[in-house]
Structure formats: C-alpha cells, structure tokens
Symmetry: C2
Subunit: 252 residues, 2 copies
C-alpha cells in the first residue's frame, strides 16, 4: 500500500475518547478495509432488534471468518464480553469513531457525466457518514445545472469553495484525460483524500491518499475467472454444492 506508514504515535488507548487528539495503534490495512463492512452488518443487526452479537453471528453477516473478525476487533481494543458477545450499539460507536464517521465529512464531486450524476444522487453516501457539499465540472454547459439540490459550479471555483466548506475528500468522476488535472486542483485546494473513478493512475503528494475504483477492471478480473472455469469444464465436479463464502470484497 501507500508509503505513508507514519509510525503511529504511541498515545492513548483506544476507547479513551477523552483526549481530542487520539492517535491510533496502527491498524493493519486489511482490518481497516473490513471495518466498514462490519459496521454495515452491525447496523443491519441493530435494526433487526439485536442488542448483542457473537463473533460468529457478526462474521456471517459480514461474510468473513469469525476468527478474523475477532482479531480485527481486538486490534481496536474492542470490548466484547466473553460468554456473551459484542454489544451492538457500543461496537457501532467504536467503529464509527475509529473510522472518523462521528463527524459528518464534507465531500466534493468533480465530473458530472453519467457516473457523476449517479454518484450525486446516491443516498448511500448521506446515510453512511458523508455529505456531498459541492459539485464541479469543467464543461460550462453543465455549470448551473441543479442536481439533488446542489448547483453545479465551474471547476475554477473549487479552490475557494473547498476552503470555505472545509472539504477534505474529493471524488473524481471525469474522463481519464482530465483526471490528473483535477487531482492537481484538488490537492492545491487542500484536499487530502481522493476517490478516483477515472481509469488512470494519479500522481499526488505523499500526504494525499488515493483510492481507485475501476469498473472495467472488476469485470476483467471476473472474466479471468470465467476463462479459467471454462478451461476446467472437462474436469470432474461440475456445478457443485451450495455454499456461501466465495465473496470477493474490493479493497486493498
């Protein structure tokens, strides 16, 4: 993953929410990538009326191995109760805190083509800790358009607005050709996390995190497995028994 393995400042035990500037024990990246999934599963369980969950139960709901789940939670010093399980509400609170979701984060979206429109209208963001506060596009014919109560602005205004609205996360949904330029503008505007939907590699300063989602790549990976499966059809076995678990979550 990224080079910024800043050696976590020793400080405060997790669970100690007192000091405003709590530093984290360095969580494994793999764990971090799974926490959001646990969180989603916990919300589901909570809405279903559960007060506590066993690691087994939560693991099933999140589609992972229970040992892995326990180890992940132990990393954040989590408070389960032996013989009982985890308190759903408490665990939600803990994970949201670790992920920094207790403060609703402002996000801006650049590029309002097909995908950009869909993202702007995606209510999953709002319901899971984020708020899209600004939309930008380079195309003047799109500027002024109103989407989901927000007006599309010209990308020139990005710098000013980003500061005003205290935006730390930017989403790039432009064509590949424009993505690097947009990334540069975002970085200049103080954005330190970028979610990139454009099929290209971005180069950014070391203090900026980039995550990339490439829809075609996902399909190509599936295609490989299809190809492999097809080359195995002559073998024994064929369509086999039903079993859950061959889920393949995205994330690094």
């Amino acid at each position: 993953m990224s080079q910024q393995r800043h050696g976590s400042t020793p400080g405060n035990a997790p669970g100690d929410r007192a000091g405003a500037v709590t530093a984290f024990p360095d969580l494994p990246e793999a764990t971090i990538a799974r926490l959001p999934e646990y969180l989603r599963a916990l919300h589901n369980l909570g809405e279903g009326g559960a007060d506590t969950v066993s690691s087994e139960g939560l693991a099933a709901a999140a589609g992972v191995n229970s040992a892995k789940l326990r180890k992940d939670l132990s990393h954040l010093g989590s408070y389960g109760t032996r013989g009982v399980g985890y308190d759903v509400a408490l665990l939600i609170e803990q994970i949201e805190y670790v992920l920094g979701l207790d403060q609703r984060r402002a996000v801006c979206l650049v590029g309002l083509g097909n995908l950009g429109h869909a993202l702007a209208g995606y209510d999953g963001f709002a319901s899971r800790g984020f708020k899209i506060v600004a939309l930008f596009d380079a195309d003047v014919s799109k500027v002024g358009e109103e989407i989901q109560g927000l007006t599309v602005r010209h990308i020139e205004d990005l710098g000013r607005v980003a500061v005003e609205e205290n935006i730390a996360i930017g989403v790039i949904a432009t064509p590949a050709g424009a993505a690097q330029t947009v990334a540069d503008v975002l970085v200049d505007a103080g954005v330190t996390s970028i979610l990139n939907f454009a099929p290209c590699v971005l180069s950014v300063p070391a203090n900026v995190d980039v995550r990339k989602v490439d829809l075609a790549i996902e399909l190509q990976i599936l295609s490989f497995h299809e190809h492999r499966k097809a080359s195995l059809t002559a073998l024994p076995g064929g369509r086999s028994a039903t079993a859950a678990g061959n889920q393949e979550a995205v994330g690094s």
Copy 2:
C-alpha cells in the same frame, strides 16, 4: 479469497495458444488483480507510439514497483527481452488472452436506478472487452424504457434471455434488499460471475464468483485515513514533498 482453489490442471505452457482448452498455472490473486491495470497502461503506451517498454516504464505507468511487475509478468511466462524490454503489442495480446478478453463477453445488468443508468451508459465496458447485452428491472414502470439502444426487460425474462445470449457475467445495481433475490435468479440462469454494487453480502454456490464494489465503503476507508492524519497534525513533518506512489488500487 474464494474456496475454489481448484488445483490447476498441469497442462500447456502459457504462450502455447494452440490447444483450445489451455489451463492456467495458478496465478496469484494479487497478480490477477493487477493485470488489468497493466493492460490499460500498455494500451496507453501503444497509442503513444511505443513498440517496447521496460519494466521500469510500464511499472511507472501502472503505478507499481518494477520488481513486482516483472514477477507478475514472469508468472504468465511472459516473453520480455533482456536488455530491451517487453514488446507492447505482444504483451497486450498475452494479457488479454489470460484474462479471457479475446472473446467479447456478454454481460447483463440488473437494476436501472441512478447507478444502473450510469453503468448502462458507461463506454469503458465496451472498449475493454465487454458488451452489455441485456437490461433488467423488477419495476414494471421501467420495463420498456430504452437505454443506449437496449430495451429494459422484466426480470422474469432473465432466465430465458441469459441462456439465449449466453450470459456468464451479471451486474447487480439494485437496492440491497433486492440483491440476494436477483443473485439467486442470476445463478439459476447459469451466470457464474457477479459484480455486486449493492451494499450487502451475497450468498451463492461455490462455483460462482462474486466481486463487490461498495462506494460508501471506499469513502469510509478514506475517512479513516483522514481521521488518522488529523490526529497527527501536531507532529513534525506536515505537508511533505511531492511523490507519486501512494495509490491504493481496489481489488483483493
């Protein structure tokens, strides 16, 4: 990852394209997930007029370490030339073959909300080896709508159409509540690879591959890093030098 670690049939060396049913040396999952990125970089380079690339050059274009790139390519028995580099056209052909992209794969898309519409209109699919051949939705008010030259059909027709069109890959872009049902239908229709955009865990037979893309999860991971960075602001360093490389590709 998935349990189907079918012990690869020994057969045919890669590069030996003669036998129609070539089995693969089992490529590491991590390598597979990067191949599409290499492919994209190669296409870019090719369009730029390059005939050959060094591992260093290609690695830079794909945003990875050059040693990793060489090892990845060596896994597929790739033919580079020492002192020269890789033949761009040949390497493209090799990777496309391994990924099974030489045959344009038929994909169906279920769920035509905001995201579904965007996916249906995404030209990145067509240009990278896939063709969306059918659209489905459960909502009768959407059935009949025409999108990108395709007519939305009712999900009841999925089984029949999937067989007719020989669809092996399905994309789920429905709300979470409907996703499992849709997955079941897809599986019954003979689909063996699913790309799931719904925020939920799917349970499917062991021979079916599922990849999940959850937009909110990506943001939550970024949020964690933001949170961590914020808790480090008091430390020495601050905004540091420009450097490429802290890219975080999605994929397992």
